[in-house]
Symmetry: C2
Subunit: 490 residues, 2 copies
Amino acid sequence: MSKEITSRKDDYSQWYNDLVIKGSLADYSAVRGCMVIKPYGFALWEKMRDQLDKMFKDTGHVNAYFPLFIPKSFFSREAAHVEGFAKECAVVTHYRLKNDASGAIVVDPDAKLEEELIVRPTSETIIWDTYKNWIQSYRDLPLLINQWANVVRWEMRTRLFLRTSEFLWQEGHTAHATAEEAKAETIQMLNVYADFVEKYMAVPVIKGVKTASERFAGAIDTYCIEAMMQDGKALQAGTSHFLGQNFAKAFDVKFSDRDNKLDYVWATSWGVSTRLVGALVMAHSDDDGLILPPKLAPLQVVIIPIYKGSEKKDVLDAKGASFAQQLKAAGISVKFDDNDNSRPGWKFAEYEMKGVPIRIALGLRDLENNTVEVARRDTKEKISMSMDGLTEKIVQLLDDIQQQMYNKALAYRKDHITNADSWEEFEKLLDEKGGFISAHWDGTPETEEAIKDKSKATIRCIPLDNPQEQGKCILTGKPSSQRVLFARAY
Amino acid sequence: MSKEITSRKDDYSQWYNDLVIKGSLADYSAVRGCMVIKPYGFALWEKMRDQLDKMFKDTGHVNAYFPLFIPKSFFSREAAHVEGFAKECAVVTHYRLKNDASGAIVVDPDAKLEEELIVRPTSETIIWDTYKNWIQSYRDLPLLINQWANVVRWEMRTRLFLRTSEFLWQEGHTAHATAEEAKAETIQMLNVYADFVEKYMAVPVIKGVKTASERFAGAIDTYCIEAMMQDGKALQAGTSHFLGQNFAKAFDVKFSDRDNKLDYVWATSWGVSTRLVGALVMAHSDDDGLILPPKLAPLQVVIIPIYKGSEKKDVLDAKGASFAQQLKAAGISVKFDDNDNSRPGWKFAEYEMKGVPIRIALGLRDLENNTVEVARRDTKEKISMSMDGLTEKIVQLLDDIQQQMYNKALAYRKDHITNADSWEEFEKLLDEKGGFISAHWDGTPETEEAIKDKSKATIRCIPLDNPQEQGKCILTGKPSSQRVLFARAY
């Protein structure tokens, strides 16, 4: 019945691709590195987006929209930024096509742009160029603006949701009168992301700061939340950057303070993307399909009638429709699937594949006993429940599933953060156990790079509130004052 | 106090630009033809988008997302489509920049794409290329998919919201088993658009069908809703296309029907864009600023306390905050503006500029009399209202304003649809009265073109359910069986 999925232990990477395709989340497209987000995947993204948008608005942010294109010269204004972003970009050079002598459609050489336009890989430059016109005085600050948009980074190796040339995201860009205020904003948004990922996606994260070499191009500090996937690899789930005055200086954005003194404006930026959909899939699902947390599942409950021929079909249908009505009234997204063309077994497999948190089956025996069969997608446990007070029990069960999914992911992560105190131990852990490895590092980018070259593991972050502890770098033996988290990453 | 706005009678076009800029809806950007949608303008667009999205979902549609880029060759597959769209497009030719010998950032000639990519001006081609993989049998139909996206059309003459190189829109793309079903969908979505524009934007529209020369490139029939602006010019507010089997044939999308016979799939597409924001501004506003219909206004009510020094300031503040609380509980978007830094007169002008439908002023005299002063933005009428039952009265007043704004626009339109029965009359009406002119036309594209050349008026549409009536073409005198609507248009 079920469309076949590669098992996690046979090929984790193929398992992920199978889930995304067969779970109807996304599809490949005719354009290299770009995906199509299918309706079911987009419904999931919409739920994530709407919740994040609410959290941004609750913290005083408003949405706006800035141009897709950025003049090439804008990138050169911030030295680090151009190195980090302008290199692998889609470049618009012409604005017209024409028919050539043979009638074929070709680029019109007469329609060459004076200055090439870059399809935005991120929008700091075009936004700070605009802020220049919006900010004169401290009264214009803070500016707390977010944008939901598509961006393009020309990736050579792409994977559905995790790394695509075009992706959807939000990018917050805020402007402040003081460094302290900007730093507080950076941390506030890191906390918003952590709350969202933990409470809605049911994925625990570690909050930390990136090393200099992993910083956003143009940032003073990059904060991140790091999640652990079921194969022990890390996935960066969101970043929040304290940009200092770098972009204000690059675009000459000054404000007069209360004492009428001119100073450059302080900035932050922060973003999460459709990559989170990939993280959600990888963190929870199993070999039978997706497992979605109730708070984000497009469909939370499916009710399936089990007919035996036409016996009492009308009673089953009426009962099923009535339960659906009650659940809907309680704010639950529910479907009563009375489609006659598919057999129950096929439906069970299909909704398992799609990760619907609760399946309710309703048969003749249930009618006699005043019960229904309730199956949880996360544990595959089946419970016979009395029909009395069903709605309240389902509401409670959805909460339980949400919490248990988080607990399970947290327990896995706890089991997979391990200290290593020598290079041999470090390599062995990486190869045999995986997960995050907490180890001493001498603090130099050279050592960081050497470790990456030898082991393919990167420093995921220096956790916030990291305990200080004397030790020796696992590679060089040089002194170190704290452990940092290493992992192989997506 | 008020930022100055050019008056409509002095310069209608400048009046519009002033409103958009000074009403904080949008701003120019560093990229030719692209605008920045400011937070207030975006909040307005969000309300429009959310309502439309609800109406699409209520009619069974789901959202998805398709790539920004379209391979150049895709456009050539549908002959009319390439003529209509591929010509004025942003073309991506390279995927990398590099530093040249002098260190300047230049396009890397080694990173030239094998096939150029077009930034989507509309997505029929990439979507039908995808549908080919999704549709095999009648069981896969209908596909009722919508996309919210940015698109780019390289416009030579741009105007904020009305015509920009990049704009935001939605594009519905549906696939059906029969021509009848696709035609019914085309009309259904035209009706959804008309309902939205009339009931939410308070702008009356005429539903009609376009002449062959005004059809969407690749459509069999293009249906449209046409609105009239305050200067009598027409603005096309939305289009819904019956595409026949044109795109299915171009992308070889066939399905097997119930009898296992293969046939090409039938298609529709339909879209509205941020252009609607421009229509909203032009249809209702006045020389003091925006006038927004209550159902779409980001802020529906503002409450302004009128202090005399510090006398009873705390009582005024408590009263104002309490009214705001009550209105909010009734689902009204409200702000209590107790900012001490601005004088009431400045605030009045500012909220008038922004088109907030109702302003409530609350002063010492009001406290004594148990009243408030309620000012309507649309008529500028001021009413002294008892504080008792204020919420209910405000809810009612918002409804009244919505209805009266529609009635006013409808009355204007009724006054500005005029029959013309000779060329002289036609030209005179266009130049002196404006509006829509109902006139006979011989039905040929040549005459349509000649009329356009001579008068700058185009056929806006042939209204649905148009009465049949024998007459003579105003230009050629040839026989005609019905009047059509002409106008100069945005």
